[in-house]
């Protein structure tokens, strides 16, 4: 599903440049649940930005669902993001004046799905994260865990190939974190490919594979025995 070969990225900071990613080789198959770990400055955010087509690499190859991702125009990148990727953010990033269902429908709006169909689909995904009764509520009326579940429904609404979660539990307490992870695991059980960036060990162990980044290179890449979040809920 995702294939990265010898990926390099550096940032120019005034006169000297900062080499952040120093040749990443990395492959994710269909249906995987991968945790990307690393301390701050390890390059995990940069990797996520590149995977999310929010930023371009300096050199190297990136193929997503057999489509080479290179030199994209802004419009093309937006189209690909919309088609291939679903984002889950640490701070949820729901649009605060839109109701839960409208937030979920937003990616579909950008896909130019007709209003009625959009509404139905959004409802379906909201139901899947168990928030159907909250459909008309504004984000300010939801708890942190509920907000993240709305965000997950939003990420899934466009039926992307890959879900990218950037510290999805970073702003939640541990109980809510496990609830969210439980949901992510269940979505993965259905066959969806998910990448989770985290620095929390327990969250990482709820995935099926951990990729450890340090100073711009992968230092460890191992399959693990998944800890089910269900038992903590």
């Amino acid at each position: 599903m995702i294939e990265i070969k010898d990926l390099h990225k550096s940032y120019r900071m005034g006169s000297n440049s900062l080499h952040v990613l120093k040749g990443i080789n990395f492959k994710v198959d269909d249906g995987e649940l991968v945790a990307i770990m690393g301390s701050s400055g390890s390059g995990k955010s940069t990797l996520l930005n590149i995977l999310g087509m929010l930023d371009g690499a300096d050199s190297g190859e990136y193929t997503l669902d057999n489509v080479p991702i290179k030199n994209l125009s802004e419009t093309k990148a937006a189209q690909y993001r919309n088609k291939f990727l679903g984002f889950i953010f640490q701070s949820f990033n729901l649009i605060n004046y839109k109701s839960a269902v409208e937030n979920v429908a937003l990616p579909l709006y950008y896909q130019k799905v007709p209003r009625k169909e959009r509404q139905e689909k959004a409802m379906k995904y909201l139901d899947r994260v168990g928030l159907k009764p909250w459909a008309t509520h504004l984000p300010s009326e939801l708890s942190g865990g509920q907000k993240q579940r709305v965000a997950i429904a939003r990420a899934m609404a466009a039926e992307p190939k890959v879900l990218l979660a950037d510290e999805p539990t970073g702003a939640l307490d541990s109980k809510t974190s496990y609830e969210v992870m439980d949901l992510i695991q269940k979505i993965n059980d259905e066959g969806n490919t998910i990448l989770v960036v985290t620095h929390e060990e327990d969250i990482a162990h709820m995935c099926k594979r951990i990729v450890h980044l340090k100073d711009g290179v992968i230092v460890e890449d191992k399959k693990i025995e998944q800890v089910r979040a269900e038992q903590y809920v």
């Binding site: 930023d55 802004e74 937006a78």
Partner: protein, 409 residues
């Protein structure tokens, strides 16, 4: 463009920032208000001027004799020129295509008496065409006609004030009134928009008065209107031809300004038109300058809004919003605020003009109003203004990197 979601978003931003929206919109609304008021005022002045001059037909020319100031063709200077009936016929035959109406004027004063009432009035003896030239409005009876002139009939068309003065409550039509002892039959009463003096006047057939004053052929003045299809250039060219011809006929030096006066209404009218055009230009100019500050104000606020919504825009982009969709959103919002506030300004201006406009009926200023064309122009201006105000912020918004969605501040 007419997407419910876009409108929902626009209303939402406006709703969450009511005061800001109001203050921003106010500047544009105020600008449009001033622009419309200025234009309406100029319009009012124009109406006033035109109203004053409308008393006479605007395509009229007056030919009045004077005293020569230069020796010419064997004649000495200081020769008095006298127009005669022949001159009228001569002009008529010389310019059959140029002339619409033509009439001579013979002026006299008359002491009028009816029963015990007397009064002194100005009598203007004319041809029937004079009614059209002077735009005399006959409210009862009729004006002098061709038969009156041929028969030298002792008939009179009296002003409304004359009728009031002499006849009090009686109906003057058909009654005989004495002018300097001679009985004249009242055949008509006229009214005039001008001052009261214009209604203290009497019209009579020219031939009648020429006979009374010693069977003369003299006339005081020739009034005519030219072909109404003529534009200003053609009208001026005609009056020049007329002047040349009359000067030749009366052996006046073509350069002599005092021998014969040919006064063309179009000239004066043109001066007024250009005067009001300049005023209108100033009005539009000032209005636009104020509008520019309004546009800058909206642009300013939009930039601020975009800055505030950077994260949201980033999220939208991460979710697949194309730069174009973001630009549309911002532009539409800008156009919406600008147009809405502009129309509010327009509406207030319209209300005030509708309420106060009819109160201004002075000669120099009447019926200031907003025309449909002003409204349409204002609408176009507002949409352009909205786009201009939103353009920079929209581009700024389109340049927001979706990465900001990931950075947690």
């Amino acid at each position: 463009m007419f997407d419910r979601d876009i409108w929902q978003e626009i209303f939402n931003t406006l709703k969450t920032n009511k005061l800001r929206t109001f203050l921003t919109g106010f500047s544009v609304g105020w600008a449009i208000f001033i622009l419309v008021m200025l234009l309406a005022s100029v319009n009012g002045m124009e109406n006033g001027f035109v109203g004053q001059f409308n008393d006479d037909a605007t395509n009229s020319i007056f030919v009045r004799p004077g005293t020569t100031s230069k020796a010419y063709a064997g004649f000495e200077a200081n020769r008095r020129i006298q127009l005669k009936n022949d001159d009228l016929e001569y002009i008529k035959q010389s310019f059959p295509d140029d002339i619409e109406y033509i009439s001579a004027r013979y002026n006299a004063n008359a002491t009028a008496r009816y029963k015990s009432e007397t009064g002194s009035y100005f009598v203007q003896a004319t041809h029937p065409d004079h009614q059209a030239i002077e735009k005399t409005l006959v409210i009862a009876g009729r004006y002098v006609n061709e038969a009156d002139v041929v028969n030298k009939a002792k008939v009179a068309v009296i002003g409304r004030k004359v009728a009031e003065d002499l006849f009090k409550k009686e109906d003057p039509l058909g009654k005989f009134v004495e002018f300097n002892g001679l009985p004249f039959r009242v055949i008509g009463i006229f009214t005039d928009d001008g001052d009261d003096n214009a209604e203290r006047r009497i019209y009579a057939p020219i031939s009648t008065y020429q006979r009374i004053y010693g069977n003369t052929n003299d006339i005081n003045m020739i009034a005519l209107t030219y072909n109404p299809t003529y534009d200003l250039t053609k009208a001026l060219e005609f009056s020049r031809r007329l002047e040349d011809l009359m000067k030749r006929r009366h052996k006046i030096d073509p350069e002599d300004q005092a021998g014969l006066y040919v006064w063309n209404y179009a000239e004066a009218f043109e001066n007024i038109s250009s005067f009001t055009a300049v005023l209108k230009g100033i009005g539009i100019g000032v209005g636009f300058l104020i509008l520019i500050s309004g546009i800058v104000g909206i642009g300013n606020i939009m930039v601020f809004t975009i800055k505030e919504r950077t994260k949201e825009i980033g999220v939208r982009k991460a979710l697949g919003a194309r730069p174009r969709q973001i630009i549309n959103l911002v532009l539409l919002e800008s156009v919406f605020i600008t147009s809405l506030s502009g129309f509010v300004g327009l509406f207030f201006a319209w209300i005030i003009l509708a309420a106060l406009g009819p109160m201004f009926q002075t000669p120099a200023f009447s019926n200031p109003s907003v025309s449909a064309s002003t409204v349409i122009t204002a609408t176009i201006i507002l949409i352009i203004a909205g786009v201009l105000a939103g353009l920079l912020p929209a581009m700024k918004a389109a340049n927001v990197k979706p990465i900001v969605a990931l950075s947690d501040k």
